[in-house]
Amino acid sequence: MRFENKVKKVYRGLGLKISLFAIGVLGFAASAFAHESVFAWTYTTDLLPKGRWEIEHWTTARLEKEHGTYNVVDFREEFEYGVTDNFGVSLYLNHHDVNAKESVPQEDPNNSGHRLPGSFETGGEDIHADHDPSLPFDSYHFESVSVELIYRILSPYKDPIGLALYLEPEFGDEETEIESKILLQKNWLEDQLVWALNLNYALEFEKEEEGEYERDAKFEWFTGLSYRFISNWSFGLEFWNHHEFADATEHEHSAYFLGPTLHYGAKNWWASLGFLHQLPIGQAISEDNKEFAEHDGYIFGDEHEKYYIRLKIGINF
């Protein structure tokens, strides 16, 4: 009931926004070409053919921290172009809507490094550094611009395994990040069964108070298995394991996520809908995370929420 109410609140009003987007893209979809990902989170090594364009719209809801309210909807507009059949570039525009109140534990002012029992403040990585944590945070914000470069070395349709390298620098007013990925893909059963694995490493420079930046790093891996059960439709499972490193060196935690993904691919467009639930088997490693991030086996802290829902719609032309 609590979760449903959160979803309801987050998406109230978004129906119109998404409908307008869909109507807009349908105008030119009739003569379009499609390229797609069968997963919501995991990348495959599939790329656009040379000279093709694609527009993607991502909507990702991230819901619920340890306490209070924490509802974020990330929007991502992607413009992708196939430079060659094995090299693609994309421009991402990232913006989000954040609604939070008393979401993270408050530190005891008289006992540094420990919680103030029963006391929470507004926090999380989506909350601006200069925001007063005693107040709720409700903001729509243009977050960042990022560029994606993917080079495919091996194709899963010709080689024993697909392999691609990914680089994504991101520039924002609150955070700057550079992310690299190794993408692997293996297909079976005439390409109806698709497995993909992504190994990701990212360096983040997050804005702190007084204009300083905190350096963090994350290592994470995503994997997904998807089966095309009838023409056009695929169903799969995705798994995500995230490791956070404070100052890019101190291992803070490991968090785990699992959930289903449904995909539809048509001639002119495609959509993937995925859901991830954080598994209550997370491990807080640093003393700070043991005190502030771990709760009932879940890892929250700045980085994570309990539920993730993502809808990706791609239109090619």
Binding site: Y11, K158, G265, A266, I313
Partner: protein, 179 residues
């Protein structure tokens, strides 16, 4: 149920798009009769009902390395003893229907793409690409980037058609070739 209404309203959008997209989807280039006349002009055809046995299915897999998905085959024989097989392979989203004309000596006379509903990869209909299969038989390698050139950007379709032709040549060798 009412509480789900607003919450899940946004999910109806992909549904609307699917319905609107469906009617403009198929690209049919040749009917069976047209494919017959393109590959074997002026010939008469008699259909040969064929349901592969378990032994034949296993033998075809052994010869070609490609699994048989459907035991039911659509086969026609010409008055001269040549064969035409209409088959399907998987595309990215849907099935691709194609026809292969096989001469009585077990070599490919011609292949034709009968329908194609995919996003891209339409280049497999190009005559130059299809001509690579002419003269191939069950002993041919039929491998992309070896004896069959790949079309960059249409790799999935190229590979599935190549595998399909290889499987049909093994089918001919297993079922129809006079020993």
């Amino acid at each position: 149920m009412k509480r789900f209404g607003k919450t899940l309203r946004w999910l109806t959008v992909p549904g609307i798009v699917i319905v609107m997209d469906a009617p403009s989807y198929a690209e049919v280039y040749l009917s069976v009769e047209q494919a017959q006349q393109v590959i074997f002009p002026g010939e008469g055809f008699s259909e040969i009902p064929l349901q592969l046995s378990s032994y034949q299915k296993a033998e075809i897999k052994k010869r070609s390395g490609i699994a048989v998905r459907d035991r039911g085959m659509r086969v026609w024989k010409t008055g001269k003893g040549d064969f035409l097989i209409v088959d399907t392979v998987l595309g990215k989203h849907e099935f691709i229907t194609y026809a292969v004309g096989i001469l009585s000596d077990g070599t490919v006379r011609q292949i034709e793409i009968m329908d194609y509903r995919e996003t891209y990869g339409y280049q497999i209909r190009d005559e130059v690409w299809r001509k690579q299969f002419v003269g191939k038989n069950a002993q041919s390698e039929l491998m992309l980037d070896k004896d069959i050139k790949n079309i960059s950007g249409a790799t999935l379709s190229c590979r599935h058609i190549t595998d399909g032709v290889k499987r049909l040549l093994a089918t001919y060798e297993t079922v129809f070739r006079k020993k």
